[in-house]
Symmetry: C2
Subunit: 219 residues, 2 copies
């Protein structure tokens, strides 16, 4: 009689954990990280109470969030900042470089190309594409704008998984579908549109208008 061994790979295990951790918690990790990088300037260690006060979260929430991923703190002391930064970067998969494709080189697209905050954090705009012949071939920062029709080739050759979408709202859904078909797995969109994509594709909206409309409720 044969014992049934269930083979569990590292990737499986990682995925199991991922689906177990609530997205609200994951969404707070980048904020913790940002705070820690600021604190690093003056401190080597931080406790959950102080970190919470800086960020506007409760100490208990911070401890519980972090405890989902391991025991990163020391009783009586708190958390070593450098260590915690490294752990968070590992959890978030940002201890590695990520290539980004920019789609749409209008005003917003150019502002993105100008912004240096990405590459300082290991996100690199590898290529930019547009459909406008007047823009194709032009150079912004280190990117020469390529033809959107070559998108698939560019994504495959550079193994790009993340796209920033800065096209007019009316084209956003169509272009997003193409991106997904070409292998993109995550989209940060600046288009004021609603994207309907398979659930395994991660989408984040950067939408100042929605933020403003949220705030005016309270004014």
């Amino acid at each position: 009689m044969q014992v049934s061994l269930t083979e569990v790979t590292d990737a499986d295990r990682k995925n199991m954990i991922k689906t177990q951790i609530p997205d609200v918690i994951v969404g707070r990790l980048p904020r913790y990280l940002r705070a820690l990088k600021i604190l690093r300037e003056n401190h080597t260690t931080i406790n959950s109470k102080e970190l919470g006060e800086l960020l506007g979260f409760s100490a208990a929430q911070i401890r519980k969030d972090l405890s989902q991923f391991g025991e990163f703190g020391k009783q009586g002391t708190g958390y070593n900042i450098d260590f915690l930064i490294d752990r968070l970067q590992n959890i978030l998969n940002i201890n590695q470089d990520w290539g980004i494709l920019l789609v749409g080189v209008g005003k917003i697209g150019r502002a993105i190309l100008n912004y240096s905050g990405f590459s300082a954090n290991r996100f690199h705009v590898k290529a930019a594409v547009d459909s406008n012949p007047d823009v194709i071939g032009e150079q912004f920062e280190r990117c020469i704008v390529e033809d959107i029709r070559d998108m698939k080739k560019i994504i495959e050759e550079n193994q790009i998984k993340i796209a920033m979408l800065a096209v007019p709202a009316e084209n956003a859904q169509k272009v997003a579908e193409e991106l997904v078909a070409d292998g993109i797995r995550a989209i940060l969109t600046y288009a004021p549109a609603i994207l309907t994509l398979p659930p395994e594709i991660k989408v984040e909206y950067s939408d100042p208008l929605i933020s403003l409309q949220h705030m005016t409720y309270y004014l």
Copy 2:
């Protein structure tokens, strides 16, 4: 013996309701609004199921959210789109014009001045200020950049309640505190910083890096 009448003003009532409605619900209203404005092109009526499918929310959630503010739908029919748009705009206080102060006219600030999506939605950048003498006096779109030292006067004269903050991260907290002291009640910040302000001040962060770091967790 005198009957104790508790005087409740309209403003009081509005505030009571505001604190009762959870912020997560308020945060979804602008998204409903955006969807409805798109649907308006082809439909006059919509039901919670279809609206939910478009937005990726459950039908029950949409019905429950909307029911917090009134009975906007009709059994058997759904919601009249134009009517619901008007109601949501009223709830969100965006059936009126809002003046905005832009603080910081660097790359991001200029992109904001260029963006026409705000004024199309009754948000108007009334003034832009900076501390850099090279930039003060220059004109971008309809705004002549003014001296940041005149900020208080500008806010008061134009009765501005909302600011967009696009200054370097290291100045963000200090400038934000000045804004609050000068009468600003809501801040949409593009600076990769953590703002610590009184709880009655509404702050929204527009931070692509945090969005990217959130997504890479799943990649």
